[in-house]
Symmetry: D2
Subunit: 343 residues, 4 copies
C-alpha cells in the first residue's frame, strides 16, 4: 500500500493518549463533560492561554464546533463573514445555513480576512432591514491553504471587529500547526485576547477526536451547554475528550506534535523548491501546494498518495501534501528522494 | 467514593476495545467512515440482522442519531409521534424542534406506543393543511423506563405504520439490553424487518462512544451522508467508531455485555422484591425503579450513588438503579446485602 | 345559499375601510410600512393603549404574527408554553417548530393559562441543559374557545412571568371581542401594561387583513424589522395595513364592530339556553358552543352553515356558532326562530 | 411633494380592483383561498398559460413566494443557485437561509443565469457529501436590473436543468413588465412550459398586494398548502387575492398595465439617451439606470424623487428610475422636459 500524504487524520492517535485511556478506564465518572478529566483539561488550557475567565467545552469535530459556536452566537437576522476558502463556506455541507444563517463569502489572496475585506461586505449590506446584519467574523488559523495570521494582523482585525460590533471567531482545527510555524509570532495568549471564541483542534494533532472550544467573551459563555446538547454534540462519556486534551496539554505534547508535522512539511517543501517547483501559496505549516507537471505527478503517485488540488493549465497542476504528528522521518526522506528524481 | 448506579456510561470501555484501538492505531485509513473497520463492522451488523440490503452509518451519540434520522426523513410539514417518556420528547434540549419538526407526545402506561395510541394522534390532526401531517413514529427499545417491546407488539405497530404511510424508527440506545432481556422474544432480524430505521447503541453497552444507525428502507438510505456531514456528526477519524463496533459484533461481545448488565439488575430487583418493595414499572432490563421510604433511600445512599427518580408521596419515592456491562458482581452482592438490611 | 356562522372572516371588510382605500389610493407613499398611514395608525393604537413607548408593526395574519413574535424573542434553546387549545399548539401547521422552537402544551379547563399551570411545566424541565429553558408564555384573549382573561388573572400571570424570567405574549386575533365582552374588566391599557407583546386582530374584526403587533418591552423592540422581512411578512404596500387600522382606530369603530359581534352571539346563546341546551363552555364573546342532539343539528343545518365541533356521545354533539362585525341582526332573528323550533 | 420614481409600489391599486372589492364585499365565502374568486382567478391564469395541469396559489408578496417555493422544494442538504443580483441573494434579509438552505451566488454581466454559469457552480461542488447538492436554479424575469430572458435563453436553461436534475424557478415579481417589453419574444405559455414553478407578480403591477405562484411540475404540487400555512402566508380572507387576480387577468388588464409602465420608462430612457447619457444596463422594461453627473443628479432631484443606485466615479453615479402602471403621462412629459434641460 502507498504511503499517504492526503491528510492529517489518517492514523489513530498518539500512544500517550491510548495509555491515558487505559489508565483511566475503570474510574467511574460523571457524564456529559462533568468528569474530572475535562475539568483538568480546561484548567491546563486556560493556564496556557492565560485566560482564567474563559470557559472550555470539548466537542468531537470541527464542523460541529463551527456550527455550535456560530448558531449559539447569532440571532436569526445576523450573518457571518468568511473567506471563500473558509471551511464553513463550501466544505461543511451547508452546516451553518442549516442553522438558519447566511455565510458571506469574501475572495482573498491568501485565505486570510482583513479589516478592509470585512468592511467591503458591510458596505454592500446597508439597506436595512432588507439586508442582513453582519455580526460575526470567522477566520481559520492556520487557514485552509496553510497560511497563518501574524500578531499584528490578528490584532488589527480584532480591533476592527470591536469597533464595528462584530464578534471574532477563530477556527483552530490546525491552531497547533499555526502557532508552531517558523514565521509565527502569535502566542496562545494572544489568540485568547484577540478573539471572542476560538478552538484548539485535537483531531488533526494527535487525538482520536476532539476540539476544545474556548469562549473568551463572557456574554457568549452563557448557557452554551444547551446548544451542545441540542445539536447532538454532548458525549455521554465526555471523559474521552477530557482525557485526550489533558494528555496533550498537561505538558508540551500538543505543541511538539504540531511542530513535528510542520518540520516534515518544510523538508518536503524545501526539496520541491530545490527542483525548481513553484508553490500555489507560500506556507510554513503542515500543508504545501507544489505545482508539478502532469508527468511528474504521475511518477510521484506511484509510491505515494496525495490529492491533486487544482489544475493550473493543460500541462500542470498543484498537488496538496499534508504531513502530521504521525508522519515518519524515514518516509519523508524516501519521499524527498523521489521528489529529487523528478527534476 | 461511593459506587455509582446512576447510569450506564460511568466507566470507559470494554478492554477488548482498547486493545483493538491499540492494534490498529498506526494503520493509515481513509477518513469520514470510509475506513476498513467501518466497512467490516457494517458487514457484521448486517449479517446478524439478516439485512443484506440495509445500510449502516456510525455516529457518536444517541441525540445525534435521533436528530439525524428524524430530520433526514421528514419534510418541513411532517411531524413525529413519540411517547411522552420518549427521549426526544423532553430530554434532548429541543433537538428535533431545532431541525424544524414537532414531536407529538402521547401519554403511555409503560413507555411503549401502540397502533391505538398513534391513531389517537392522527385523529385529532385531521384539519389539513392547518394541522401537521404525521409521518414518523419514534419508539425506544428498551424504553426510557426499562420496558421492552414483544415481537407481536412491534409487528402490529409496524403493520399499522405501513398501512398509514408512516415510517417507524427505533431508538436502540439500549437495544442490546432489550434483546437479551429474559422476557424478550425479538431477534435483531425482527427489528430490521419491522422498522424503517433503528440503531444499535454502543455508548451504553461497552463502547467509548458510538451508535450504529441501520437504515432498512431503501428510500431513506439515499444521500444520508450529506445529513451526517451537515449536522457535524461525521468524524474525520470515523475509524474509531468502526473499530469499536467491529470488536463488539465480530463475535457475541455486544450481547454478552448487555446480558451481564441485565443480570446484575435482576439480582438487585429480586432483592428489592424480597424486602417487599414495589416497583414503578416491571422491567427486566438494566434499569429498575424500586419505591422506597425516604429513610431507606437515605440509608442506601450512604454507600451507593443513584438518582431519586420520582416522588410518590410525602414518605416515599422511586429511585432509579442502572447497571451496565461494567457493573461488578462483587459490588452487586454488597449492594444487595445493604438492601436486605433495609427491611 | 345557506347563511354561514362558520367563522368571522367570511365577508370582505367594513365599508369605511373600502372608502378609506379609495380616498388614499393615488397618494404616493413609502413602501414597507414607512407610509403616513402606518405612522398614524401606530399613534392611534399607542394612545388608546396609553403606551407611548411601545412600538407597532402591522402584518397580514395571525399565524404570521405568532411565528414572527415568538421566533424573534427566543434563542435556540428556549421554548414557549401554551394551552393545548392555543392556536400555536396544533393549528398552525407547525409554524413555531419550523422556526426551531418547542411549544409545551398544557391541558386547561377553559383555554386559559395560570401561574400554577406554567409552573407545572417548568417543574418537569429542571434537568438542564438536557431539557429546554422555558422563556415565553403564549396566551390568547379571547381564547380559542371563546373565554376571556379577567384583569386579576392577567395581572397574576404577568407577575409570575416577571418573577420567573418569562416573557408574556398575548395573541389578540380576537382581542376586540374580548375587551368588549359583557363580563370583561380589562382595558387595552392593562393589556399593554401586563404583556411584553400583544396584537390587535384586524382580520376577524372588520379588516380585509392585518394584525397590529404591539411590542411593549423595549428589549424586544430592537431590530424587529429584520424578522418581518426575513419571514416574508413585510408588505411592499404596507399602506394597506396602515389605512385599515387608522380607519378602525381613529375613533371607536374597532370596538363597536367587536361589540356587535358579541351581542349577536349573546342573542343566539340566550335562545339556545331557553330551549334547554347545555354549552361546552360558558363564553360571552363571539363564539358559542351549544350541545345539540343529532336530529336538532340536522334540522338547523338545513338553512344555516356551522361546524360540528365535538362529538359528545352517540346522540349529541357540540356545534360552533361564530358571529362577526358583519352578522346581520335580521339573520340572527331568523336563526333564533329556527333554534326555538328545535325545542 | 416631489413626484417619486423610486419604485413601482408607491400608489394603491388600479381602480378596477377597488371596484371589484366593493362589488364582492358582502358575499360570504370560504376562507384560506378556497373562495370562488381564487378558483376563478386560477382558471384565468392557467388558460392564459395554456397549462391546465398546473396549480395556482396566491400569497401576499415576493419574498414570501420565494421562501415558500424554495423551502418546499429543497431537502436539507440541497441548495439553490442565483445570480448575485438575484433578489434572494442579498435583499431578503436571509429569508432562504432562515429556512436552512444555502444560496450560491454567481456573478453575471446582465443579471441573467446561463447553463454555463450554473455549471460553474456545480463543478466546484463535487466533493460530496462535504459539499452541498445543487437542486434548484432561481432566476428573475425581468431581472433586478431590468433585463429580460429571450425565449431561446430560457429554453436552453430549462433543458440544462432537466439534464442535470435541477428544478427551475422563475421569480416573476415583474413578469408582466418582462412579457410586454418591446424586445420580448417569450409568451406566458413558454414560461409555464420551461419552468417548474414561477409566479406572476401583482404587487408591482396594479394590485394592492399579491403574487400568483404557478406550480407546473406535478411533483412539486403535492401538499404545498401545508407550507403556505406553516410560513404564515395563508390569508384567512384569501378572497382579496383571488378578487385582484381575477380582475387583472379576466381580460388583459394585467398586460396593459405592464405595457404602460414599460412605455413610460422607454420615453424617459429615450430622453436620457438624447442628452447623451450612458446606461448602466440596456433595459426595455420599467427600470432604467442612466449615468449622470453629480450636478445633474442634484438638479433633477429638485422636483423628482429617485434612488442613486451606484457610484461610478467621483463625478458620476447611476440613478434608478422606476415607472409603474400608475405613472402619469403628464408627469413623464414634465420629467422628460427636465431631463432635456440637463444637457
Amino acid at each position: 500500500m502507498k504511503y499517504s500524504f492526503k491528510n492529517d487524520y489518517s492514523e489513530g492517535c498518539h500512544p500517550s493518549i491510548l495509555a491515558a485511556l487505559m489508565r483511566t478506564n475503570s474510574s467511574q465518572q460523571n457524564g456529559y463533560g462533568l468528569d474530572d478529566y475535562c475539568v483538568e483539561a480546561e484548567k491546563f488550557i486556560l493556564q496556557k492561554a492565560n485566560a482564567p475567565h474563559s470557559k472550555v467545552h470539548f466537542v468531537s469535530g470541527g464542523t460541529q464546533a463551527n456550527l455550535l459556536v456560530i448558531s449559539s452566537i447569532l440571532r436569526p437576522h445576523e450573518s457571518v463573514v468568511s473567506a471563500t476558502t473558509g471551511h464553513i463556506f463550501t466544505n461543511e455541507a451547508g452546516a451553518i445555513e442549516a442553522t438558519g444563517h447566511k455565510v458571506h463569502g469574501v475572495e482573498t489572496i491568501d485565505g486570510k480576512l482583513t479589516p478592509e475585506l470585512v468592511q467591503s461586505v458591510i458596505e454592500v449590506h446597508q439597506n436595512k432591514p432588507h439586508q442582513l446584519k453582519q455580526k460575526l467574523v470567522y477566520i481559520s488559523n492556520s487557514t485552509e491553504i496553510g497560511t497563518i495570521y501574524k500578531k499584528n494582523e490578528l490584532e488589527n482585525l480584532s480591533k476592527f471587529c470591536k469597533e464595528n460590533g462584530l464578534y471574532l471567531f477563530m477556527d483552530g482545527a490546525r491552531l497547533g500547526q499555526a502557532l508552531t510555524a517558523e514565521s509565527n509570532d502569535l502566542m496562545l495568549e494572544d489568540v485568547a485576547k484577540f478573539t471572542d471564541v476560538f478552538y484548539l483542534g485535537g483531531t488533526k494533532n494527535g487525538a482520536l477526536l476532539g476540539e476544545a472550544i474556548v469562549i473568551n467573551n463572557p456574554i457568549l459563555q452563557e448557557e452554551f451547554g444547551f446548544h451542545i446538547k441540542q445539536k447532538g454534540a454532548m458525549l455521554a462519556k465526555g471523559r474521552i475528550l477530557g482525557i485526550q486534551f489533558q494528555e496533550l496539554l498537561k505538558e508540551d505534547l500538543y505543541w511538539d506534535l504540531a511542530k513535528h508535522a510542520n518540520q516534515q512539511a518544510m523538508k518536503i517543501k524545501q526539496t520541491f523548491k530545490e527542483i525548481g517547483c513553484d508553490l500555489l501559496a507560500e506556507t510554513d505549516t503542515n500543508q504545501i501546494f507544489p505545482i508539478l507537471e502532469n508527468l511528474q505527478i504521475e511518477k510521484l503517485s506511484e509510491q505515494f498518495d496525495f490529492y491533486v488540488w487544482k489544475k493550473i493549465d493543460a500541462q500542470k497542476s498543484a498537488i496538496r501534501i499534508i504531513t502530521s504528528w504521525a508522519t515518519e522521518t524515514e518516509v519523508v526522506e524516501r519521499f524527498c528522494q523521489e521528489i529529487s528524481k523528478l527534476k
